[in-house]
């Protein structure tokens, strides 16, 4: 099979679902994106309009496809963690977590309580981070500029916490197979404690700005309706479903990483519009703050890595005194650890919905296959249904309420 470079620099072909010429004389086809500020990434939507009403919408994705699933097959199991950061770059720790959990399932290793609690805390901080970016940009799209600055102010604090723990602000790779990348740094309790103590009052601030804001209410209430049955059938997950009255959260229904030990509520709204999704996410931020507070106060002592010398790198001191530690170190660094042959599916509740990793091992030190079931990909399938017969101006609010990340969609 031959390929010339010119083939791929040609213009993007039109989406085949919609003909290039409108189907009826009074209709117009409008290209939204791929470079449109409110699509939050590189998404192209072909809209067919009649006046200002959207008759049909066809999303065209794949602009950010980087072949991550293929790349997984070239890397060792542990190196794969760095790829998971880059899938959904706003919820990187949720991706680290689900990948680690799925591989640990095959390895059948026990993760100590302290590592599990730290994982929960980091995943919840990541949820706050993601919801803050969502709220800031979503409000900015609808015209509330102040929100953007408020949200990014708090997001900066979270990124500083990430940097303190892992050395990285965004591509943290902090949750590793077998535990954590590093021991939680000295003094983290003060930093996280200070942030989480102030955070609920910050959410109050957001609510004060938006809840009684007539422009915000008019732009969000009754906008972006899609029925619960349609959403379930189309693969939509996460806060979208909870905004339509379905009480389903994977943290509660299939608890992982000791979530069952935390006391939190699953916020549910029944409006099924942009407003309800906004209410759900804001309450989720408060619940996440509760979880982080519990993790902070009840953080168990003990090791932060599993007792699995064939997976976890040994302590430097041990390497100098123990032969076995040196051998394990050599094996892990040069070859990578081997994972028993088998397959596993693990899902977690990410800020956007269900992330599921399906991994297949053939018993070697590299994954045979890693499939990511990402929430944005599933959610975006509901978009055409949601935009059908709505006004074009409302599409911006509806798009924002879905909270997709295109890196997550295209992988």
């Amino acid at each position: 099979m031959k390929h010339s470079f010119e083939d791929h620099t040609a213009t993007i072909p039109a989406v085949q679902e919609i003909p290039a010429t409108p189907s009826a004389p009074r209709r117009m086809t409008l290209n939204m994106g791929p470079q449109h500020p409110s699509t939050h990434g590189v998404l192209r939507i072909v809209l067919e309009l009649e006046g200002e009403t959207i008759i049909s919408a066809a999303p065209d994705i794949g602009f950010l496809h980087t072949g991550i699933e293929k790349e997984f097959e070239q890397k060792t199991w542990q190196q794969g963690v760095t790829l998971t950061d880059r899938v959904d770059y706003l919820a990187n720790l949720s991706n680290n977590l689900v990948y680690s959990l799925s591989v640990e399932k095959l390895l059948q290793i026990e993760i100590p309580a302290r590592a599990q609690w730290t994982r929960v805390m980091m995943a919840e901080l990541s949820r706050l981070n993601s919801h803050l970016v969502w709220l800031g940009t979503h409000a900015l799209d609808i015209g509330a500029m102040t929100m953007f600055f408020y949200c990014f102010r708090e997001r900066e604090d979270i990124l500083r916490i990430f940097e303190m723990f892992s050395g990285q602000r965004m591509m943290t790779s902090y949750i590793r197979i077998g535990g954590l990348a590093l021991e939680p740094p000295r003094g983290w309790q003060q930093v996280v404690g200070k942030f989480i103590k102030a955070f609920p009052s910050k959410v109050d601030e957001y609510e004060e700005l938006l809840n009684a804001n007539p422009i915000w209410m008019q732009r969000t209430q009754g906008v972006g309706f899609i029925s619960l049955e349609d959403m379930l059938d189309l693969g939509v997950t996460g806060p979208m479903l909870r905004g339509a009255g379905l009480n389903w959260d994977i943290r509660k229904s299939e608890p992982y990483s000791s979530y069952e030990k935390f006391d939190f509520r699953v916020p549910v709204e029944t409006g099924n519009d942009v407003w309800s999704r906004y209410r759900v996410r804001l309450q989720e931020m408060r619940e996440s703050a509760k979880i982080i507070t519990q993790a902070l106060e009840g953080m168990p002592d003990g090791p932060w890595q599993a007792d699995a010398p064939h997976v976890v790198l040994p302590d430097r001191e041990k390497m100098k005194t123990q032969m076995e530690a040196l051998i394990y170190h050599f094996k892990i660094v040069t070859e990578g650890f081997r994972v028993p042959a088998g397959e596993a599916y693990q899902c977690v509740e990410a800020p956007r919905g269900e992330i599921g990793y399906y991994i297949v091992s053939d018993g070697t030190s590299k994954p045979y296959r890693v499939h990511m079931r990402t929430p944005s990909f599933g959610n975006l399938q509901g978009l055409p249904k949601m935009l059908e017969n709505t006004m074009i101006a409302d599409s911006i609010a509806a798009l924002g309420s879905m909270d997709f990340v295109l890196g997550d969609t295209d992988r």
Binding site: H3, G62, E69, A344
Partner: protein
């Protein structure tokens, strides 16, 4: 769960995996959705077992909210299908979410889905040649291969 299309079932790590007859996958899925209440299709993917035969496994992850249960269905497909790519029936008539999932599998593995409403590439450009996630597809693609290699 008893259905004639289920060939064998196994349990591992608390997950149930069933091999199904690819010819009767639509019947089986309709039964699972309507009778067994697996109202969500969590995802469809495939595994390329090149060079062994049957080469492909199409993997369906089903989820029932009512029973809080997940199951995995797998169909074996031969890689030496005629005329060009192996084919299986589309389950879009059962779950509409299968639409994009199947397009992704088609795009990445070159597995055709009969009766799919719009089987075109979804992530790669529509004029792309080859199926990137097949094991015999080079990591750097065909584009950057140099004569000296």
């Amino acid at each position: 769960m008893n259905h004639p299309a289920i060939l064998e079932t196994s349990q591992a790590f608390g997950e149930s995996t069933s091999y199904a007859d690819p010819e009767r996958i639509v019947d089986l899925c309709r039964y699972l959705k309507d009778t067994e209440k697996f109202i969500r299709l969590s995802g469809i993917t495939a595994v390329d077992l090149h060079p062994s035969e049957p080469r492909f496994e199409v993997v369906y992850h089903l989820h029932s909210l009512e029973r809080n249960q997940r199951i995995r269905l797998k169909c074996r497909l031969s890689g030496v299908a005629s005329p060009d790519i192996p084919e299986i029936d589309s389950v879009t008539s059962v779950w509409r979410s299968a639409n994009w999932y199947e397009r992704e599998v088609f795009d990445m593995f070159g597995i055709g889905f009969r009766n799919h409403p719009n089987l075109v590439r979804i992530l790669m450009p529509t004029d792309w040649e080859g199926y990137p996630l097949r094991k015999d597809y080079p990591v750097h693609g065909y584009k950057y291969s140099y004569p000296s290699e």
